[in-house]
């Protein structure tokens, strides 16, 4: 009985297999046998343990080499022959059975003959049964320990919950994840209590209900629960983690969930990087795809909610030294209005100290972070009860303000606020926010550049607007000009009367587009036509040059133009060129006739020819140029103004161009404009005057007579010669301007005037009278090269400079061509 008790102790002990086998052998040898062998089960029947009385390693090794015995169906006495290798006189083979299955065999052998009798078999079988259970437990324990070691080494947190929702097994990673000291503590604590210290949110930022805890799936009865992404915030530390929960449910025979295993992966770093990259990519797309910056900014701040924050505001310095909330987004859309109300009631001064973090961030360019904002702190910051109520309703628990920085300037601030208790912004959040702010700032800066350009376009095209009646000696001109754009007081329509050596060219154009970009394009178009027209005296060359300028500009820069080269005397032949523009009307004896034959719009094709229509002009003929904005205006009834109404209006005015302008202006009051509107009517009672020559050429002191070989070195040579010739006699400013002017003129002669190579000369003459300087640059011509398709490096600025620096300038001759400029 003592033996059976000892065997039971083996069975009950929680000892691993490698410790149980020696104990078993100790128990049996020599008490029950001189030799004992333990064999494994059917799948692996090898010797697990062997013991020979008196310790005989050589014999033990020999026994291990023998073919193993398999468990017998019942206890079996062995004959001496069967016991041969054991050098024993009697023996018994017993089956080891546990959980109804054979788990191995036990062989006992003795040097005594007949040591074991059939009467002993029953006892021995019971004894073997006890040992078998002990071995089996030990084996299970070993397997469990191996599994434990395996799971314990996993980086993912593993927790197994039973049907009652208690943790029955977990690994150290699970303990770390739940921020408890050990697996034992983890197992001892109910999961609901463990999760209490965290706030949980789903991937869309919605809080997870208490009954929907992370480790509570087993009760939901889902067959194959999909992985779930959970954002977890430690209520104490504010630590934010993204967890990916994968679960599998173990079911019993009746398909009831028995256990659930959770593998929880901490994907915070991956998720952060992914969210951050997606946020930035999306923001980049939004900011680059639209010209409507306000709408883009709003879209961008909305992106950050809830990925980065619960509310997000974009603050820009506005008028009167105040900060303006340019865009705001909140997890709860209803609170957006609260944010605006807050700002309206409590304006923030850019240089104020007590107005929150944004002004400081904008002034210093240093990001600001604040965690654990308590209600007390909010209360202290509130100026009155209503302010406190507004602040409270927004929710404020952590704050991150980053500067909008672009090109070394801080243009504003991006404010991110978390309303979730205990959430705090960390370095990774700040990195994403900073990158986002940078993109917003770059977009703002670009938009400002565009705005500045529009301002410049305004300035450039200011010349269009006030010049309501361009003067052409001998002619009467009346105009109507009405930009449709609200932001820019100059539109895409333009007109001009260009004096050239061979007569005057009247042009009108309409660039495709509206607002600032159209105004800018319109300014470019006008300057280009004017320049090329003045230099060449040819309408076709002017159109060709503008076509190249628009092609070079890219981005579908398109412009329609009508150009009419007026004769120098009447009667005479006028040339009409149309580039996608509505045909001008010739009014003679009260009848209007369209003129011209349309060619392609400028900027649409690389190389084009515009048909030149000729018309014989007589005294008192009127030509009316207009843009399609006139035709496309909408009457009060919804009808288009159209060609027919315009024709009646024009014919009604007869040869009185001013009356035409007055009646069109009156008509426009009633119309709804869909585009800019321009009209120019010209009546030619006599020959349009030729461009007057400059006045300085007579009685002035010759300063410089220079012939330079062409090529890129020529501008520099001309400048140096002029500097030397002036000898400091003019003011620094005039001398500086003169150097720029001579550089531009010589460069222009080289680029366009046929003096590209040293073989062709450029002449530079300069005369001085008092403080006035006249420079003439002559190149071999043909003046302007309309066939030249190469890049025109000056981009149109050269002529603009001449216009601004010179007191007068002009062109004379066509082959060779001389450009003169006077400075004073």
């Amino acid at each position: 009985m003592e033996l059976l008790t000892s065997a039971g102790e083996i069975a009950d002990g929680r000892v691993p297999l490698d410790a149980v086998v020696p104990r078993l052998l100790d128990l049996v040898v020599p008490t029950l046998a001189d030799c004992c062998v333990v064999y494994g089960d059917g799948s692996d029947p090898r010797v697990i343990g062997v013991r020979v009385a008196g310790s005989d390693p050589a014999r033990e090794a020999a026994i291990r080499r023998e073919p193993p015995h398999r468990p017998p169906a019942a206890a079996l006495l062995l004959s001496e022959r069967e016991l041969g290798p054991f050098a024993a006189r009697s023996g018994v083979l017993l089956a080891l059975r546990a959980r109804g299955q054979p788990t191995g065999a036990l062989l006992l052998a003795s040097c005594e003959p007949n040591r074991y009798t059939p009467a002993d078999l029953r006892f021995l079988q019971v004894f073997a049964g006890r040992l078998a259970v002990g071995l089996d437990n030990a084996r299970l324990l070993t397997a469990e320990r191996q599994l434990e070691a395996l799971v314990g080494a996993l980086e993912d947190a593993v927790a197994v919950l039973d049907g009652g929702g208690r943790i029955v097994m977990a690994n150290p990673a699970a303990a770390r994840l739940m921020q408890v000291d050990s697996v034992e503590v983890l197992i001892a604590t109910p999961p609901a209590q463990l999760w209490e210290r965290f706030a949980l949110y789903d991937a869309d930022g919605r809080p997870l209900a208490a009954g929907n805890l992370a480790w509570a799936r087993a009760r939901e009865g889902e067959r194959r629960p999909p992985p779930r992404l959970v954002r977890r915030i430690d209520r104490e530390t504010g630590d934010q983690r993204w967890l990916l929960l994968k679960s599998s449910i173990l079911r019993d025979d009746r398909d009831r969930p028995v256990m659930a295993m959770y593998v929880t992966e901490d994907v915070t770093a991956v998720r952060r990087a992914e969210l951050g990259q997606r946020l930035l990519a999306e923001a980049g797309r939004i900011l680059s795809s639209s010209l409507d910056l306000d709408a883009s900014l709003q879209e961008v701040v909305e992106l950050t909610v809830p990925a980065l924050a619960d509310w997000c505001g974009l603050e820009l310095p506005g008028s009167g030294g105040m900060l303006e909330l340019a865009a705001v987004a909140h997890l709860d859309p209803a609170k957006v209005a609260v944010a605006h109300r807050l700002r309206a009631r409590h304006p923030v001064q850019l240089d104020g100290d007590g107005d929150g973090a944004a002004p400081g961030v904008i002034r210093t360019g240093v990001a600001f972070r604040m965690d654990n904002i308590s209600r007390e702190m909010v209360r202290a910051a509130a100026v009155d009860a209503e302010h406190l109520e507004l602040l409270d309703s927004l929710g404020l628990s952590a704050l991150l303000v980053v500067p909008l920085r672009s090109g070394g300037n801080v243009l504003g601030a991006l404010t991110l606020v978390s309303s979730q208790a205990h959430r705090r912004f960390d370095d990774a959040d700040e990195a994403v926010a900073t990158a986002l702010a940078q993109r917003v700032a770059d977009a703002l800066r670009n938009a400002r550049l565009l705005h500045d350009r529009a301002e410049i376009a305004n300035v450039l095209s200011a010349g269009l607007r006030p010049e309501s009646s361009p003067v052409l000696p001998g002619c009467k001109i009346a105009t109507v000009y009405r930009p449709a754009g609200e932001e820019v007081q100059a539109g895409g329509d333009f007109y001009d009367v260009i004096d050239t050596p061979s007569g005057s060219i009247v042009v009108m154009g309409d660039v495709v587009g509206k607002g600032a970009p159209a105004a800018a394009l319109s300014a470019l178009s006008r300057v280009t036509l004017r320049t090329a027209g003045r230099l060449t005296g040819q309408a076709a060359a002017a159109l060709d040059e503008l076509n190249h300028a628009l092609r070079r500009r890219g981005a579908m820069s398109l412009c329609t133009v009508v150009a009419i080269a007026l004769p120098t005397e009447l009667p005479g032949t006028a040339e009409v060129l149309l580039a996608g523009h509505p045909p001008p009307l010739l009014v003679r004896d009260g009848v209007a006739t369209p003129l011209g034959e349309s060619g392609p719009m400028l900027g649409a094709v690389e190389v084009a020819e515009w048909p030149v229509a000729t018309v014989e002009l007589a005294l008192d003929d009127v030509i009316v140029l207009y843009t399609d904005g006139v035709l496309d205006s909408i009457l009060p009834g919804g009808d288009r103004f159209g060609e027919e109404r315009l024709r009646r209006l024009v014919e009604g005015a007869g040869s009185d161009v001013e009356a035409l302008a007055v009646s069109l202006t009156a008509e426009l009051e009633l119309l709804r404009l869909r585009d800019d509107v321009a009209m120019l009517a010209i009546r030619c009672p006599g020959p349009p005057a030729l461009l007057a020559r400059g006045t300085l050429s007579d009685g002035a002191e010759p300063l410089l007579e220079l012939r330079l070989p062409g090529g890129p070195e020529a501008p520099r040579a001309a400048r140096h010669a002029l500097t030397e010739a002036l000898g400091g006699r003019l003011s620094k400013r005039i001398e500086g301007d003169a150097l720029i002017v001579v550089s531009e003129l010589v460069s222009n002669a080289i680029r366009h005037g046929g003096a590209r190579t040293p073989g062709a000369d450029v002449s530079v003459h300069a005369v001085l009278r008092g403080a006035a300087l006249r420079i003439e640059v002559t190149d071999p011509g043909p003046g302007f090269d309309p066939g030249g398709h190469g890049p025109r490096a000056d981009g149109g600025y050269g002529l603009l400079l001449l216009d601004r620096m010179a007191t007068g300038w002009g062109v004379s001759g066509s082959d060779p061509v001389t450009v003169w400029v006077e400075l004073q």
Binding site: L449, P712, S743, E744, D794, L800
Partner: protein, 113 residues
């Protein structure tokens, strides 16, 4: 002193962060190509600071290059700033009405060296 003796040169890689491109001499149609190459090379590295202080002369060939570089920086995403030059050089930006298009380093932050 013969002004012809002063050769146009471009120093690349100076400044605190090595982004400096500093042309010396006269920038016009003959020399803008050399500066353009230097700017493009530096732009490819992500940042360009163009120091105009060594320029004695600038015309619209150079002006155009600077404006194109400013546009390219907005489009291609490199940082571009310009250290202003002598008054005669700065005047060109004012007369052309493009001063606001050029990211001058002094106009906003006052961190002129």
């Amino acid at each position: 002193m013969d002004p012809d003796e002063i050769e146009f040169t471009v120093d690349v890689g100076g400044g605190a962060d090595g982004s400096l491109v500093a042309p010396h001499g006269e920038l016009d149609m003959a020399t803008q190509g050399e500066l353009r190459a230097a700017l493009e090379q530096q732009a490819a590295r992500g940042a360009v600071t163009l120091d105009l202080s060594g320029l004695r002369f600038l015309d619209t060939s150079g002006l155009r290059l600077i404006l194109e570089t400013a546009e390219a920086s907005a489009r291609d995403g490199f940082t571009f700033s310009v250290l202003p030059g002598i008054p005669a050089v700065q005047r060109l930006f004012d007369v052309a009405g493009v001063r606001e298009l050029v990211p001058f380093a002094d106009s906003e932050e006052g961190d002129k060296p």
